[in-house]
């Protein structure tokens, strides 16, 4: 395909230097941060109404999530799958698609990695691990890519289809790990055969955090380059803004939809790969741990910007890491984090209505007071 335009400075019209440029960019940072704070405020009120102390809560989250080197390592380990799960939402979102079934890609990616690992018993890790990763990404990519294909060729709503396919993926995983792929030795928790030690992905040297974090961050950077620095990403943003205009321009909307959904799914599959090879050691029902759903919130909080996903995912991973301590110390149910996520999600969506309302962020309107 040939795209005749360059990819430079499309998000904001005009130069992005100086005070004016800063003000324009500030809106995209200040409003989500404000919404995050508003979500925290509503949640604090929720705790206060039941006689719980919000300060205790946030202090515990800080201690368990970010207070010590150990808690940082715990948080970062949890952030790894969240980064990839959020990409599974953010990439299709650039085309205006709301895909919420990333859990399906994670689960099937994990099963594919576990199955490939069991098949490749005795193969050197240098060959086996890339093959397993490829299988996982292929499984996830095909699964979410199918959602994109249904959307493009049949006009099926991608939000509903992807969530249905997540349920189907979980059923498929249960069928496979309890049936054809079950290791007879796994009694209490049906699983695929455990991976041999050589095929377990280890930690980043010097840290107690597995390699999934590095891959997740690299994936976010690559996704950012793809969206912000290539003609493909530019075309996707055009198509996301206005499909008709994109078609008139001769953009390959179908291939963009298939490519972006499949790539998102491949990242989801990668999350499954790391869950199996670095965390669980075999594929089992633990794969359906809800990372795909937290990923939706992260992508929306980051406004589908892959670079912003990194800090947001780490923040939310910290909250999840602190869940256990909060439960024990404050005697709160484990769903507390889910309630917090719900309030933050609502706040972030409501903040959409505020964009363009504040003069501070629009330099061209500064003088007209």
């Amino acid at each position: 395909m040939s795209l005749s335009f360059t990819s430079e400075s499309t998000a904001s019209a005009g130069p992005s230097f100086g005070l004016a440029g800063l003000a324009r960019r500030a809106e995209a940072v200040v409003l989500p941060l404000g919404a995050l704070m508003a979500g925290f405020a509503v949640f604090s009120l929720f705790l206060l109404l039941q006689g719980n102390s919000p300060t205790d809560f946030f202090a515990l989250v800080y201690r368990a999530g970010f207070g010590t080197a150990f808690s940082w390592e715990n948080t970062l380990s949890r952030a790894a799958p969240l980064l990839l799960a959020a990409l599974c939402v953010a990439l299709p979102a650039r085309l205006g698609l709301v895909v919420i079934g990333g859990e399906g890609a994670i689960v099937l990616g994990g099963v594919a990695a576990g199955f490939a690992g069991a098949m490749l018993f005795g193969t050197p890790a240098i060959i086996a691990l890339p093959v397993m990763l490829l299988c996982a990404m292929l499984a996830g990519g095909l699964w979410i890519g199918a959602v994109g294909a249904l959307r493009h060729y049949r006009g099926v709503n991608e939000t509903i289809a992807s969530l249905l396919m997540a349920y189907i993926a979980i059923a498929l995983m249960n069928h496979l790990v309890e049936g054809p792929l079950r290791d007879p030795a796994s009694l209490n928790k049906p699983s695929t055969a455990p991976l041999e030690d050589a095929l377990r992905v280890g930690n980043i040297p010097g840290w107690d955090v597995h390699w999934g974090l590095a891959f997740g961050i690299i994936a976010c950077v690559l996704a950012w380059v793809l969206i912000d620095k290539t003609t493909w990403g530019f075309a996707a943003r055009i198509a996301g803004g206005n499909v008709r205009a994109a078609q008139v321009q001769g953009l390959p909307v179908g291939r963009l939809i298939l490519g972006f959904t499949a790539l998102g799914g491949a990242f989801g599959g990668m999350a499954g790969f790391f869950e199996v090879t670095a965390v669980h050691g075999s594929a089992n029902a633990s794969l359906a741990g809800g990372y795909g759903y937290t990923g939706i919130l992260i992508a929306f909080l980051a406004r589908h910007n892959p670079l912003a996903i990194v800090p947001v995912a780490i923040l939310l991973a910290g909250f999840e890491a602190s869940s256990g301590l909060v439960q024990r110390r404050m005697d709160l149910p484990d769903a507390t984090v889910l309630v917090l996520q719900g309030f933050v999600f609502m706040a972030i969506l409501m903040s959409e209505t505020l964009y363009g309302r504040f003069k501070v962020f629009a330099p061209e309107r500064w003088r007209s007071t």
Binding site: V98, I100, L150, H152, Y153, R154, G155, V156, N157, T159, I160, A161, L163, L164, M165, Y167, I168, A171, L172, N174, H175, E178, G179, Y293, I296, L297, F300, P333, D334, A335, T336, V337, L338, V339, L340, Q341, G342, F343, F345, M346, L349, M350, E352, T353, Y355
Partner: protein, 307 residues
């Protein structure tokens, strides 16, 4: 397995199962049909369903009356719908995304407040036995019909009539088909949509109360497995027609009953795959009824998912 019935037990159990399993589908889809007819989609009904299940169970346990539980579930559902409706009335806010957030919030709040009610046993909703003429226990079991199912069936007819022949129905359809036309008629689209979403939420809450107070009849965090979401797809399949919603709910109920029925007659092969039957059916129906080129027949003009 009873030998005198042979394999007849399977269709019989599926019919009985369809009636039992379909009720939440029926209520959620009727509520969603009403909301979507006003031009808005509420994907958060899954969360409303779960919260309805929790609040219904909790109140039935605390008061001893299952009907007070149903009422509480309806009120909570209406409140959730109201919140969704008001937020979506803000400019530039995406109703699909708000639905996802409401789903997470509804489930979070339900699990949060529902923790103390996992153990206690709440009274069940009453059922009417239509199988008194038979001696065969399986037939009697299959024809044990809950009162809420009958109410839901009646509601489908009432809603169908309301949308077709009353002023309220016409108002709703005008708002759903064209915001501009509604404004020109002096209607207030945002207000009407918010009301329709609140009523739809109340229906979904009742569907949830059925789950916890009759079948399966207990409260736990796994009470719903996507019924609220499937019901949204079911509305598209039913072409926003309440009577068709009733038929579609029965069909989906039958698919949902397939897994447990086959398990009860000793079919264990592919057990989990049969549990996926309702999801596969929903997806298949969506694929079959969608089209990339033409707008869906019967779709409200202002609905975001079909535009």
């Amino acid at each position: 397995m009873e030998s005198d019935l042979g394999y007849w037990i399977i269709p019989l159990a599926i019919i009985g199962g369809a009636i039992r399993v379909s009720t939440p589908f029926l209520f959620v889809s009727l509520g969603e049909a009403l909301t979507e007819r006003s031009g808005r989609i509420n994907l958060g009904l899954e969360g409303t369903l779960v919260f309805g299940a929790m609040s219904g169970y909790a109140l039935a346990y605390l008061t001893g009356s299952p009907w007070l539980g149903v009422l509480a579930a309806a009120l909570c559902g209406a409140l959730f719908g109201l919140v969704h409706g008001i937020i979506c009335s803000l400019p530039k806010v995406n109703d699909i995304a708000v639905g996802i957030a409401m789903m997470i919030l509804g489930m979070g709040l339900a699990f949060y407040f529902g923790k103390p009610f996992v153990q206690p046993v709440a009274p069940d909703l009453p059922a009417i036995s239509f199988g008194w003429w038979s001696d065969i226990p399986q037939i009697r079991a299959a024809l044990e019909v809950n009162v809420l199912f009958l109410i839901g069936a009646a509601l489908a007819v009432v809603l169908w009539w309301m949308l077709r022949a009353t002023r309220v129905g016409l108002t709703l359809r005008v708002v759903g088909d064209s915001t501009d036309a509604a404004r020109a008629m002096g209607l207030r689209p945002a207000l009407i949509r918010t009301c329709a979403t609140a009523v739809g939420g109340a229906f979904a809450g009742v569907g949830g109360a059925y789950l916890s107070l009759y079948y399966p009849g207990s409260w736990n965090e796994g009470i719903s497995s996507g019924q609220g979401l499937m019901a949204v797809a079911l509305v598209i399949f039913a072409r926003w027609n309440p009577l068709a919603c009733f038929g579609a709910a029965l069909l989906f109920g039958g698919a949902g009953a397939l897994g447990p029925v086959l398990q009860s007659v000793g079919v264990s092969e592919g057990y989990y795959l049969f549990f996926a039957a309702p999801y596969v059916l929903t997806l298949g129906v969506l694929i079959a009824t969608s089209s990339p080129t033409r707008a869906m027949t019967g779709a409200p003009g202002e609905l975001s998912i079909t535009k």
